[in-house]
Amino acid sequence: MRFAVLTDIHANREAFEAVLADADARGVDRIALLGDLVGYGPDPEWCVDKAAGLLAAGAICLQGNHDSAATGRNESLTPNARVAMEWTKSRLTDLHRAFLAGLPLTVKVEDVLFVHASANDSGSWIYVTSASMARGAFRSCEARIILCGHVHIPLLASSDVTGVVRVQKFRMATPIPLIRSRRWLAVVGAVGQPRDGVAQAGYAMLDTGTNELTFRRVPYDASKTVQKMRVAGLPEHFALRLIRGK
């Protein structure tokens, strides 16, 4: 089974479409959306509708902190993000809100756990940015492979047979064997707002048959997204982030 794992789409239609097309061209059996469909970007309705369509067609779709905030829950957001969230809320219909509110926080498929933030407390939106943060995620579940998002910077960590957790270096677009003597955690990067300095949409492909994970980057027309954001009057900070990729 080949999973295309997308997270942090953040209402960026151009990036979302580019990633879906790339995954489709490479061959994918099931799509997993790890949350944060909305927030920051100019196309929340389109992205939620698209996600709903994918979910109906068999995809996995989780709730992220921005999705939760869009349903009216009180999540902690930066002042700029709060401005964007108010704008987002004004665009969404009750149907959209109901869809977002109904999304699960985690989904497990065999030995793979999908979650938006950290597995140890999926509703607290903990950022997995280091080996010690990953350790908590490994401790709190049995899954051999944990795939998550929320951080917007790709990361790979492994927990060896003795339980030592280390961050592993990896290369983009190179299949990484998730050897079975270890457990693995990957932050798959962000589709709609990358923050590692590469202004391309990020996602990952998990092939459970070959047991390999591949981090990928897909170029997309960020200038179009930026223009829409400026027209919508969204905070310029987020537009610049898309151009810089950080």
């Binding site: 003795t162 270096k169 050897i179």
Partner: protein
């Protein structure tokens, strides 16, 4: 606690036979499987207790890397088992046995030595092309396939427990603070903790060729890590001091491979292989002439310079390292009617050297045989055709500004020039062929295009140079 292997044990349909070898970190078993009817071996790591870090990680590394390797110079992987049951790796069995017994017979006769060294070096070049640095090259980890219908006596590298695949996570990098490797063969930068430099393997090759040539190890058999450090400043006894019949060019190759600073060594295994097969064109330096170890004064100065060194700098990725020192093969047609083409070809080569200043240029020309009949080896005046061509080839290359050791010449012979060029490029690990395409002549229509064949069949990049058609021909199209 993992399950322990025993004769007769069955696991994932593999049936264990005899225990072939018991090493410090693993046992090797003969195994059979109903779906695989050829001889196989199973390697099972010996894990002392749950916290035997080095063995476990080494095993994981081998499991990960061996699955990415292919070709005749590595054992074929059949199956792996993980720690939840019993960890193992099953590969084809290489019948020939390790080269340890050959190394015990060293010094070898020179012709055997050069032949064996070339085989080892080419196997390592093949590994590097697959992005893997072995980092534990030594006689025990080299095996020879037997000559039989399925194999042609190829050199096989085994044991990838310390290896590094430069596109995969390095599970070993942060695991241990002490350098990993085998003391007599470990390179200085590897001793300093670097695991990313393919030139570390070239150092180990130097140690092995030295051993084959002299019967002794250049840096002895240090028992403690402190003894390994000495090679940062103490140079080995020159091979010719131990065995005077070692030719100067071979001493040059060995001592260049053993340079302390990786930048001064050969940069790729393909370069060593090239020199081993072109001994007359090896540029001899002071290394070739050395008759004794450096004086204590020199060694003292080196000690002062080296005693606090932490690293020799970060090397490029394996692929980048290989690409930065290409071997460019220029196939030159020296016939009268193609003089203009030959000239344009030389300009192209000169331009390529601007962007690839470290390239090595191998100039070749093909002396075409008739398919049948007796070939003339002399022309009407009795001049040796081979020599005539070589002289012409050297004359053609005037203006290619390269030091002697990076510019070589060869006159090859054969009835099919395309195949001759391709075979030369394959045998010499050429990274790029540059050649001319003849115009739209009648000869080409009847004989077929040599360049088209080379482009289609060569195993490397090919650049084809053409004399531009005259303007009026173009306008007629």
């Amino acid at each position: 606690m993992p399950i322990l292997p025993y004769p007769g044990m069955e696991i994932d349909s593999f049936r264990l036979g005899e225990k072939l070898h018991k090493g410090a970190f693993a046992t090797i078993w003969e195994v059979t499987h109903p779906d695989h009817l050829f001889p196989m071996v199973m390697k099972v790591p010996t894990i002392m207790d749950g916290f035997d870090g080095p063995t476990i990680v080494g095993f994981e590394v081998e499991q990960m890397i061996i699955a990415r390797l292919s070709g005749p110079h590595v054992p074929r992987l059949i199956g792996v088992g993980d720690f939840s049951n019993m960890p193992y790796i099953v590969t084809e069995k290489i019948d020939g046995g390790s080269l340890l017994s050959v190394f015990e017979r060293a010094p070898l006769p020179l012709s055997d030595l050069i032949d064996l060294a070339s085989q080892i070096v080419l196997a390592v070049a093949d590994l590097h092309r697959q992005h893997v640095i072995h980092l534990d090259l030594k006689p025990e980890n080299l095996m020879l396939r037997p000559f039989c219908p399925e194999s042609r006596g190829e050199m096989v590298l085994i044991d990838f427990g310390l290896s590094r695949h430069d596109q995969l996570p390095d599970l070993l990098s942060e695991e241990f603070s002490i350098p990993m490797g085998t003391y007599p063969y470990i390179a200085p930068e590897q001793y300093l903790g670097c695991r990313d430099d393919l030139r570390s393997d070239l150092f180990a090759l130097g140690v092995m060729i030295y051993e084959l040539a002299t019967g002794t190890l250049p840096f002895g058999m240090p028992l403690k890590l402190k003894g390994v450090r000495k090679r940062l400043w103490r140079d080995p006894v020159p091979p010719r001091a131990l065995r005077p019949e070692v030719p100067e060019w071979l001493q040059e190759i060995i001592l260049r491979a053993l340079e302390v600073d990786p930048k001064l060594r050969y940069q790729t295994a393909a370069q060593i292989a090239f020199d081993l097969s072109h001994p007359l064109q090896v540029k001899l330096t002071q290394r070739a002439m050395k008759v004794r170890q450096d004086s204590m004064g020199t060694v003292f100065h080196r000690w002062r310079a080296m005693r606090k060194i932490r690293s020799f700098g970060t090397p490029d990725s394996v692929a980048a390292q290989l690409a930065s020192v290409p071997i460019i093969c220029v196939a030159v047609d020296l016939s009268r009617e193609n003089e203009q083409l030959a000239e344009i070809l030389r300009w192209s080569v000169q331009r390529m050297l601007v962007t690839q200043p470290d390239a090595r240029i191998a100039c070749i020309t093909v002396l075409k045989h008739e398919r049948m009949g007796i070939d003339q080896t002399t022309d009407a005046e009795g001049n040796n055709l081979h020599v005539v061509r070589l002289v012409a080839l050297r004359a053609w290359a005037v203006g290619i500004d390269l030091p002697e050791e990076r510019l070589t010449f060869a006159v090859l012979e054969g009835s099919d020039p395309g195949s001759v060029i391709i075979d030369y490029a394959t045998a010499n690990h050429v990274s790029h062929i540059v050649m001319g395409a003849r115009g739209h002549s009648a000869a080409r229509r009847f004989l077929g295009s040599i360049s088209a064949k080379v482009v289609a069949e060569a195993n490397c990049s090919v650049t084809v140079i053409r004399v531009p058609e005259r303007q009026k021909d173009v306008s007629q199209v």
